[in-house]
């Protein structure tokens, strides 16, 4: 398709044609320049706040660094991480959080459908289910801590019900401490999940569900065969957000509830980075851990997106 500059101009006069093309290039160059200048502030911010710290962390992962002085030690920090067994323990702890995601996904879906179908008490629940999500994680953490410490409400309740043998120091052993952490995670995340799924369900025609009901589909059949497939985009979003969270966002909860104990048994990678950097002054080691965490989180997110892309295609 010819443009205005080509109209009425013969190709047989190259000099003139060249003169005519010059302003067109200028306009293009100017457009590009404006585009680049417009992007520059965003690029500058990303470079200053993301790429520069990333570069610094990467560099310092090869140094022994106390925040003031650093010396090049090559791969020593990485070797140390593998040698001490820290990495295995930290990955195991992150993996436990990761494995808890299907649980909250299922609970959120069930609660969403119950609310959607308006079961008894759903009106009241609709008004309160989001409250834990707007609470600060630190508040949730301290609440859990006060409920589950050895003389807390949970043990008192067991005693009152005559179930004294069930009392224990919930935060004192790894298994029960993880249970409390995951309970806190579920409690705080349920509102987020239900909100996402309910808003997606609101856009789905009720005719489909009514038709399924008329065809004799039971509650669980409707959930698994109709609602879940229709909610797939929301489920993907919820999963990605929470998978990333278990690698880079679990810090606050662990800090507030268990402090990473007992014996680092509930310490995830981001909490260990904090401990090594700011309590041990070992910022080089912490930088190396950060680089490993970045690689893992990026890898997991990439794999997840690939899987979801494939699912979408199918």
């Amino acid at each position: 398709m010819k443009n205005a500059f080509d109209a009425g101009v013969t190709v047989a006069r190259p000099a003139r044609a060249g003169l005519l093309r010059l302003p067109a290039l200028r306009i293009e160059a100017r457009t590009n320049l404006i585009a680049y200048l417009s992007l520059l502030p965003a690029f500058a911010l990303v470079a200053a706040l993301m790429w520069y710290p990333l570069g610094v962390a990467l560099y310092h992962s090869f140094t022994e660094w106390d925040g003031l002085n650093s010396s090049w030690v090559g791969l020593q920090n990485y070797r140390q991480i593998v040698k001490t067994g820290d990495l295995r323990l930290l990955l195991r702890n992150n993996l436990i959080f990761l494995l808890s995601i299907p649980g909250i996904l299922a609970i959120s879906l069930v609660v969403t459908v119950l609310l959607y179908e308006g079961v008894a008490g759903s009106r009241f629940f609709r008004s309160v289910y989001y409250l834990p999500t707007i609470l600060s994680t630190v508040v949730v953490g301290f609440l859990m801590k006060s409920l589950f410490w050895s003389q807390g409400l949970v043990n008192s309740l067991f005693d009152t019900l005559g179930l004294g043998s069930g009392t224990r120091d919930w935060l004192g052993t790894a298994n029960t401490a993880f249970m409390v952490l995951i309970l806190a995670f579920y409690w705080q995340t349920l509102g987020q999940g239900v909100l996402i799924f309910l808003s997606t369900l609101a856009n789905i025609s009720t005719d489909i569900l009514d038709a399924a009901r008329l065809d004799g589909a039971g509650w669980s059949q409707r959930l698994v065969q109709i609602i879940v497939p229709l909610l797939r985009p929301a489920i993907l979003y919820f999963s990605i957000v929470n998978v990333v969270w278990v690698f880079v966002g679990v810090f606050t909860l662990v800090y507030a509830v268990t402090g990473g104990g007992p014996a680092y048994q509930t310490t995830p990678m981001d909490f260990m980075i904090y401990l090594r950097a700011f309590q041990s002054d070992d910022l080089g080691y912490a930088s190396a851990l950060s680089v490993i965490l970045l690689v893992i989180a990026t890898g997991v997110a990439w794999a997840q997106l690939r899987i979801f892309d494939r699912m979408e295609t199918e």
């Binding site: 106390d66 410490w149 050895s150 003389q151 104990g261 007992p262 309590q279």
Partner: protein
Amino acid sequence: MTTKAHSIQSRRRVLRAGAGAAAGLALGLPRIRRAGAADVELTMWQMIFPVTDPNDKSKKPEDFWIHQAIKRFEEANPGTSVKLEDPPGAPETFTKYRTASIAKNGPDIFATWSGHYMLDMKQYLEPLDPYVTTEDRARIFGWEAATEGFKPGEGTTYGIPAGTDGVVCFFTNKELLQKAGVDPEAPLPPTFDEFTALLDQIKASGTTPLVLSNQSFVYHTLNYWTAQVVNGAPGLQELIDGKRNFSDPTTLEVARKWATLSNKDWTIPGTPTMEESQAAQLLFAGKAAMITSGAWFIRDARVALGDKLGMVKIPDFNADVTIKDAGVGGPGTVYVVSNYSEKKDAAIALIKHLVSKEEQEKRATANEGALINVNDVDYTTLYNEPLRLQQQQWVSDPAHVIFWPDNVYPFELITEIIQRAQTAWTGDSSPEEFMKQLDQKRDELLGKS
């Protein structure tokens, strides 16, 4: 033409006005700076003096000695003001100080814990030897805790001792001991093995003998008995240097017996996750007969328990130890000055005010927190609490005080001990595993250094 001339004139006027403003600023700014130079604002962080009273929530920070002492300093030094902050306790405050110091915007003065807690931050601390006089060294005690290598006169002094914690011992509920048929005024059995019989006796009376917190279960008992069996500070240094192992039979035996405090139900469950204040409340509520603590605990305990409050030394680990009838404690706190502070002289002046004879007399009269650590104040006439008097007498006899082992261990090592002790206490790891983990961490630290 007129327009052009007008434009030039306008430009000249603007330039002239700009030049005038610039000159004004140039002349004015130094005046502002000179005026400001007379006003010094010091920032002080402190984590060692009480500023709240659990028994009287209506008390304000200004009702406590440290705030009053600073107010007196400000009154005596017009133009100098002090911004006092009371950040949360360790280890968060150390983290806060480190991060602030990297950015060079931490406090001018930090009242903190002594020994390795302080020395591990020495890259941010001002050496204080040039500021400390012979007179200071003579009248204040505890310099070893503020000096690199723990040897005054040999290493660099980074802090000025801020007080002494007394000697850690058992504070008892005498009523509950009496109920169990134990004489509350008598000393406890002299060794750990004999002590366990008494624990059983108390337990049989329906009372849990002990309540320990997530720090005291290591700092006050495990560390004390470990220090006893390795003959105090030199032995602890050997453990740090790798010349002796935590897994050696003598120290392993300590870990084994220490763990029985938990697995024989002599303590209230939940120790590794119990805050010190929670443990204290359980003692005050009569849920346990004894707790370990130091001089700082007396004031609150007296208000809560009244005449029922008793105080006895912790038994020795066995009859073979050389440092007998003792306890951990001593000068666990210091004032330090940040090396990036631009007001070091004023900071030193404030510290010297706080440790002055006059202020230490007022502090002794206030009867709050730790004990005084100066020899020119007659505490016998100033303390109105017999247990504080007793504590001050105990701590005045260095043969019966083991300086805080957690202040002697490197920070990373003591953090590891606390973490690993949690599972050893609950039985999730054996004493052997516990001690081997400490050796491994110590070796890792040695390899790094």
